[in-house]
Point group: C2
Chain length 460, copies 2
Amino acid sequence: MTTTKLDEVLDYLDGGLPEALSRLKGFLTIPSISTDPAHNGDVRAAAVWLRDELSGLGFETEIRETSGHPMVVAKTPESPDRSLLFYGHYDVQPADPLELWTTPPFEPVIEDTPEGQVIRARGSSDDKGQLMTFVEACRAWKAVYGQLPPGLTLLFEGEEESGSPSLVPFLEANRDELSQSLALICDTGLSSDGRPAIATQLRGLVGEEVIIRGADRDLHSGMFGGLAANPIQILCNALTALKDENGRVTLPGFYDGVEELSDDLRRDWQALNFDAEEFLSRVGLKHPIGEKGRMPLEMVWNQPTAEINGITGGYTGDGFKTVLPAEARAKVSFRLSGNQNPAKIRAAFRAHIRAHLPADCTVEFHEHGESPASVMDTSDPAFETAKQALSEEWGRDAVFIGMGGSIPIAGDFKRILGMDAMLIGFGRDDDRIHSPNEKYNVESFAKGARSWARILHRLR
Amino acid sequence: MTTTKLDEVLDYLDGGLPEALSRLKGFLTIPSISTDPAHNGDVRAAAVWLRDELSGLGFETEIRETSGHPMVVAKTPESPDRSLLFYGHYDVQPADPLELWTTPPFEPVIEDTPEGQVIRARGSSDDKGQLMTFVEACRAWKAVYGQLPPGLTLLFEGEEESGSPSLVPFLEANRDELSQSLALICDTGLSSDGRPAIATQLRGLVGEEVIIRGADRDLHSGMFGGLAANPIQILCNALTALKDENGRVTLPGFYDGVEELSDDLRRDWQALNFDAEEFLSRVGLKHPIGEKGRMPLEMVWNQPTAEINGITGGYTGDGFKTVLPAEARAKVSFRLSGNQNPAKIRAAFRAHIRAHLPADCTVEFHEHGESPASVMDTSDPAFETAKQALSEEWGRDAVFIGMGGSIPIAGDFKRILGMDAMLIGFGRDDDRIHSPNEKYNVESFAKGARSWARILHRLR
């Protein structure tokens, strides 16, 4: 049996795991909480830590200033083959409430658990542990090949947990430098049944706030009830009429651009054996809503939604006041799929509300963001190649999955840099990201690095 | 032309108007603000002022303690004829914002205005000026007849502006003493076109708060949207379904007990020439809602309503959060008419909400009061008699009107003391009660006292 270069890289990773975990622990001691100005120095320290680590490996590395926290950009020499942009983020969520942590959030420890060893610390899974899987793969590669994989650009952001305000300007200002043939984003997880997964589609979003106004003051419902329009009632009527009795959104043209699942994707998703009732039971619910005849994963990954995220109007304090309120407000969002056009959906929603408005009432709208769905072009052979590499590493068939939420960075890469992204990550549902006692399985870390080695090997 | 005793009483009132206004001014200097504990002493001072005034006139008068502010009860000797209970309140609303008053609220002044003389002070219309119209009528009566009208009980409350917490216990504890053949309540106004009016029906009220709960926490709409029930949507759907496309309430049995207007009442109400568009234009609206084919006054006075008084759920702060909220709440009230049964309507509402509830959601209800509508038995000849007396005094046809709101005291008299009430008052729409610069027209005060003299004369 011949030993391939890939085998050597994987062996190197296995042998170097203790040192790799030590490095990750060092990274995790830095409380790089991007949303808290008191930690600005720590965020920069994390950027410096990364730069030093990458420079030491031979990357051409720079800390690039923005109007917020800096970017870290690291490159290997150009390649005649495929060029890749790898993305991760070095900032973390706040750790409070501190009293709920079993060990201090920035004093990482390796713990034995019934599900195997984990490394516990804020950022272990989101996203320091994940991004380091790629760095460790590069380290092993260099050790075996004598040089880093060519054609790589690594981009590390320090504001992901605080809304990425500098990212779009940075991408726009460095479009040529950052545009590669494909992006790799390591900030997602395994499928809920533990299989390796590549997210190939993400829903988009349209956010709207609507304010309906009637009388110029709150009215006494005894004096005016029965004569005066009630903005809460008008709002409820309009929001109810957004959906028909089957849960389908009624806005004209709403489903334009929504595509039925391909047979391949349907097979992948069915193979996940997603148990919607079990999933809902974790949050105290049981019965999935949604259209008859569609499987639950289709509802969250491939079907659009209309959801009321907030509503307020009239008297909402303790006790009771018999007012007919002057106004009522709601925040409504649409999750988009396929090629749905966000601007058209916003316009259709506004027309729908206006159609429910009596002539003496007024309406005001506020826009709260819009992004189309991201659907990756999986005919790019890189996707099938990565799937095979992941399947080999984990000994289970990797799957293409969807995501119900939006990962803005994937859309930004597509829109600004013109490239698709492969979203590959090794987090688990129980990693408690954004919560106390965040952890990352040592298996995720070790197999994650090995997965990237296999993917880089096949993509070269 | 013979001079009747009534003429003498009316002449006495005319001649004594300056002194009567002086007395009222004295009463109005007492800041008897019942809701503000700092004014507890002033509230008692107003009760003492009334007691002394009534004792001086020959009433058998007592200050009767309650757990709050005291009642003043004054009586004349029993009568073989009809016995009457007169009700008013000697407490007033707070006067702030003080800076909006053109003259100090507790320094009453007589002012000339384009609409005639007014007396301006807090409480001038609500209710000190109104209750004194009856006291002055009794004074003149005594001057002419040598004795007070027999068979009168006067009940003056000091907590009307702070929710009347002691009234029901007091009525229940003194049921036999206070039950008379008819109550007279002087705390209402002339019709909006300035004609004398007797309110013969008042809508009742059922108040409900509903809380719908879904998941045990707020959910991310990207992860759960399309699968998990949204309590706001469920609440909107249920509240929308409360009414059909004609604005009729859909609860089964809701209209049981609602009576069509009698021909007499319809004639009275039509004669008011109520201009709904003008009425609504004062608050920035224009188009009356309500059932087709019903006149606007019928909608506010004789038809029941279902109104959403408040709603809240999910994220309602600045910006946007794509949550599927754990719960949504609404406060809903029903104005009742005729013999609608409050308990049945509450039960029907709860059943309606439950029918809209998915199996894995829960609902909680809170009761916020209930009172049936008050419909006076106008076949009692006292009503027609008082109408004629009022018509004579004002030179315009008096009308029976309805009221869209509830006056709890009228319902309490009916329920606890078993008697109907004639609600007769002389306030005007522009009296600014509860607001800065409250006033009472001197014409209202003078003709009010004369009206009571005529009514007492005819009812004896």
